[in-house]
Amino acid sequence: MSEEKQCQCAEIQEEELYPRLEEVINQHRGKGEDLIMVLHKAQNLFGYLPRRAQEMVAEGLNVSLNEVYGVITFYNFFSTVPQGRNSVKICLGTACYVRGSQEVLDKAQKELGIKVGGTTEDRRYSLDVVRCIGACGLAPAMLVNEDVYGRVKSPHLVDILKKYE
C-alpha cells in the first residue's frame, strides 16, 4: 500500500474519477438490478474496482455492500486490485498444460513476485491465467497485452517480460 501511495500522479488521477462515477451512479440511482452494468462502467473508469467505488455503488443503487462484494468476487471479469500497464496471461488450457505451462506460470509468479490475479507494486505487470487462447499448436502459449508467444520455456520468460515497460 505504501508503495502505491508514492505514485502521486496515479492517486490524483483516481481521485478525479470519482465525480464521473457519481454521474454514472446517478443514472441508475436506487436500481439494484443495474448493479452489474454499473460495476462494469466503474471498472472501465478506474481499471479496477477500488473499495471506495464499491461503497459508492452500494449506497447509490441501494443494495447492501455485501451484495456488491459478492458479485465482484463471483465474476472473474471484475478486479479489486489495480491492473498493471501490461497484462500477462498464461494459458493453462489442456494442450498448454500438458506441455508444461504450469512451470511457466510458476516461473512468472516467482519472477514478478506476485500471485495469479495480482499486480506488481510498480504497476508494470498484472498476472492472470486463461483457459485456451486458440493457440494449442504453439503450446505452451502466453499473451502479453495483444502479443501471443508460443512454445514458451521458462528461461525465455524473463526476456519476453523485459520488452514491456
Binding site: R51, Q54, E55, E59, S64, L65, N66, E67, V68, Y69, G70, T73, F74, Y75
Partner: protein, 585 residues
C-alpha cells in the same frame, strides 16, 4: 385440495403444499439439510430429492408443490444412493473434527449422516483449503471450515433481519460465506443478534465463549461472583436438560446457579422492573413535553446497533434508559456493594442472557458507570447449560429456590420482558399508575402480545390516547421505522407515541443465545410460558416491587434523578453502514 399418493399412502392436502410437508402428513420424514421451517426453501443441498412417477429426474421436495395425482416415492434405492452421495460430497469438504466441535450432539449434519446411513466417505479431498476462523467479533465466531454453504445464515441475516452482514462471496471451490471485503464480522455491519448462529445447522457459527473466564472467577476465593439471569433464560434452560420446550424453571435455575458456586444469585428481572420505572417516567415526560416522540425502547442491544447503523435520525427518539442487564451491572458494583459491604473491585458480575449481542453491549466503552466494567462476563443460555452439565448438575433434580436479596425480587411485568410486546405491556401497566395515581384494573394488554410482525394498540390513560406499536425482528422494525420516517416527513409527527423493538423474532425468547434449533413454534411456547409466570406472581406491576422501591429510597432517590441518570441511562452513536464502526462527530 390436492389428492396424491406418497409411497402408496393416499393423502389430501391444500393446494401449494410442498412435497416435504405432504410427506410428513403421510408419516414419512424426508431428510433435509438446508431447509428450515421459518425460512423460505432455498434448494441448495438437494438432500430432500424424491421421485415422481412419469416425470424425469429427481425433484427437490422442499421446493416442489404437490400436484393432482402425483405418485411420489421418497426412499427408493436410487434416491437413497443419491442422498448418500450428496452427504459424502459435503463431508469430503467438511472439517469433521466432531468430538471437539461446539455442535457435537446437536449437529444437523451429524444427524443426517446417521439418518441416510453413511459408513464411509469415498471422496477424499486432500487439498481442502483451510480457512482462517473469524475471531474479529466480540460476540460471534465464524468457522468457514465447518460451513456447508447451505445459506440459512445469510437468508436470515438479509431477509429476516435486513442487516446484510453476510453474503456468498467468491466462486466455485473458493465459495465462502463472509462479510464485505472478507473483513470479518467484527468489522462489518453485523449487529451481533446471533440469528445466524441459531439457524446454522452445523458448527460454523457460535458464540464467543466466556465459560473459562467464569469458571476461573468461581474458583477464585478472592472474588465475589454475582449472577443475573434474563427473563427469557428461565423458559429455555429446561430444554438443555431434556425438559419440554418452554418449561418454566425460574426456581430450579436459581438453585442450580447457587450449587455452581455463585456467591450471590440475583435476577435480571429486578432490573427489568427498574427499567420500567426509568423508561415509564421518561415516557410520561416526553408525552408531557411532546418532544422526541415516539419514544423507542432500548433493551435490545442488537436493535441498538441496528438503529445506530441504519437509522441515524431515530437516535433522539431512543429511550436513554439502559437495558436491564446494564442497569443491573451499574447497581451491582455500587448500591449492592455498598449495602452488603463488599469491595466493588472484588465483584465479578456475570449475566446469563438469551443473547449474543449482550456480549457486545457489556464491552461498550461507556458501560462503566460504576467506575468498573459494569458487567464483566455475559454467558448465553447455551453456555450456562454446558457449564451446569460440566458441574454435574441436573436441572430436573433441582428444588425451587428464590433469588437473593436485594437485587432478586421481581414482578410479572418484569418476566414478560422476554417476549415481544412484554416491555410495552409492562411500561403501560406502570405509566398508567404514575400518571393517574390509580391502578389498571386489567393488566393484560393482549393486542401487543403474540407473534404478528408489527402489532399496534391504543391505550387510554384517563382520556389521553397513547398509540403504541411493537415490532420484533429487525426486518419488521425497519418497515415500522420507515413508516414513522414517512409520517414525520409529511406531517412533522408520527401517529405513534411509544414503540417497542426487539431485534430477534419472537423477542428475547427467540434470541441468538438460546438453544440450537430454535424455530417460531418453540419461540411461541417459551413466550406463553412467560405470560403464565406473570399470571402466577402476586405482584404484576413493576412499581410494586419492594426491592425496587427500596433501591430508590436508599440510593437512587427517584426515577430519572441525577444519580439515576448517571448510573442507569446512556447515549448512542452514529455508526458507519460500511463497517459498523462509530462515525466521527
Amino acid at each position: 385440495m390436492i389428492r396424491a399418493t406418497i409411497n402408496n399412502v393416499e393423502i389430501e392436502v391444500p393446494e401449494g403444499t410442498t412435497i416435504l410437508w405432504a410427506a410428513k402428513k403421510a408419516g414419512f420424514t424426508i431428510p433435509t439439510l438446508c431447509n428450515h421451517p421459518d425460512l423460505p426453501p432455498g434448494g441448495q443441498c438437494g438432500i430432500c430429492v424424491v421421485e415422481i412417477e412419469g416425470l424425469p429426474g429427481l425433484k427437490r421436495a422442499c421446493m416442489t408443490p404437490i400436484g393432482e395425482g402425483f405418485k411420489i416415492k421418497t426412499h427408493t434405492p436410487r434416491i437413497q444412493a443419491t442422498r448418500r452421495q450428496l452427504v459424502e460430497l459435503i463431508l469430503s469438504d467438511h472439517d469433521t473434527s466432531c468430538l471437539t466441535c461446539v455442535k457435537n450432539n446437536n449437529c444437523e449434519l451429524q444427524q443426517l449422516a446417521a439418518t441416510v446411513g453413511i459408513n464411509t466417505v469415498d471422496y477424499k479431498n486432500e487439498s481442502r483449503k483451510k480457512h482462517p476462523i473469524d475471531h474479529s467479533s466480540v460476540a460471534i465466531v465464524r468457522d468457514p471450515n465447518k460451513c456447508i454453504l447451505c445459506g440459512r445464515c445469510l437468508t436470515v441475516c438479509s431477509q429476516v433481519q435486513t442487516v446484510n452482514a453476510l453474503a456468498v462471496n467468491h466462486r466455485g471451490s473458493e465459495t465462502l460465506i463472509s462479510t464485505a471485503f472478507d473483513a470479518g464480522l467484527g468489522n462489518s455491519v453485523c449487529i451481533n443478534c446471533g440469528q445466524c448462529v441459531v439457524h446454522c445447522p452445523v458448527g460454523a457459527l457460535y458464540e464467543r465463549s466466556a465459560t473459562e473466564e467464569v469458571w476461573e472467577a468461581l474458583h477464585d476465593p478472592d472474588k465475589f461472583v454475582v449472577v443475573q439471569e434474563a427473563p427469557a433464560v428461565r423458559v429455555m434452560l429446561g430444554e438443555e436438560f431434556g425438559m419440554p420446550v418452554g418449561t418454566l424453571v425460574s426456581g430450579k435455575m436459581h438453585a442450580a446457579l447457587r450449587r455452581m458456586g455463585f456467591d450471590a444469585v440475583l435476577d435480571t428481572n429486578f432490573a427489568a422492573d427498574l427499567t420500567i420505572m426509568e423508561e415509564g417516567t421518561e415516557l410520561i415526560s416526553r408525552l408531557t413535553s411532546g418532544k422526541n416522540l415516539p419514544l423507542i425502547t432500548s433493551c435490545s442491544p442488537g436493535w441498538i446497533k441496528f438503529m445506530e447503523t441504519f437509522f441515524h435520525d431515530m437516535i433522539p427518539h431512543m429511550s436513554t434508559a439502559k437495558s436491564p442487564q446494564q442497569m443491573f451491572g451499574a447497581l451491582a458494583k455500587t448500591y449492592y456493594a455498598k449495602e452488603k459491604g463488599i469491595d466493588p473491585a472484588k465483584i465479578v458480575s456475570v449475566s446469563i442472557m438469551p443473547c449474543t449481542a449482550k456480549k457486545f453491549e457489556c464491552l461498550r466503552p461507556e458501560m462503566n458507570a460504576s467506575g468498573y466494567r459494569d458487567v464483566d462476563y455475559v454467558l448465553t443460555s447455551r453456555e450456562i447449560g454446558r457449564m451446569m452439565r460440566e458441574a454435574g448438575i441436573d436441572m430436573n433434580e433441582m428444588p425451587d429456590e428464590h433469588a437473593d436479596p436485594i437485587l432478586g425480587e421481581y414482578t410479572g411485568a418484569a418476566t414478560i420482558f422476554g417476549a415481544t410486546g412484554g416491555v410495552m405491556e409492562a411500561a403501560v401497566r406502570s405509566a398508567y399508575a404514575l400518571v393517574t395515581g390509580k391502578e389498571l384494573e386489567d393488566v393484560e394488554i393482549t393486542p401487543v402480545r403474540g407473534l404478528k410482525g408489527i402489532k399496534e394498540a391504543e391505550i387510554d390513560i384517563e382520556g389521553t390516547k397513547v398509540k403504541v406499536a411493537v415490532a420484533h425482528s429487525c426486518g419488521h422494525a425497519r418497515a415500522l421505522l420507515e413508516k414513522v420516517q414517512d409520517q414525520m416527513r409529511k406531517d412533522g409527527k408520527s401517529e405513534y407515541q411509544f414503540i417497542e423493538v426487539m431485534a430477534c423474532p419472537g423477542g428475547c425468547v427467540g434470541g441468538g443465545g438460546q438453544s440450537w434449533g430454535s424455530n417460531m413454534a418453540k419461540r411461541a411456547r417459551r413466550g406463553e410460558s412467560l405470560y403464565a409466570e406473570d399470571r402466577s406472581l402476586p405482584m404484576r406491576r413493576s412499581h410494586e416491587n419492594p426491592e425496587v422501591q427500596a433501591a430508590y429510597e436508599k440510593f437512587l432517590e427517584k426515577p430519572n434523578s441525577e444519580k439515576a441518570h448517571k448510573l442507569l441511562h446512556t447515549h448512542y452513536f452514529k455508526r458507519s453502514a460500511v463497517d459498523g464502526k462509530i462515525l466521527p462527530g
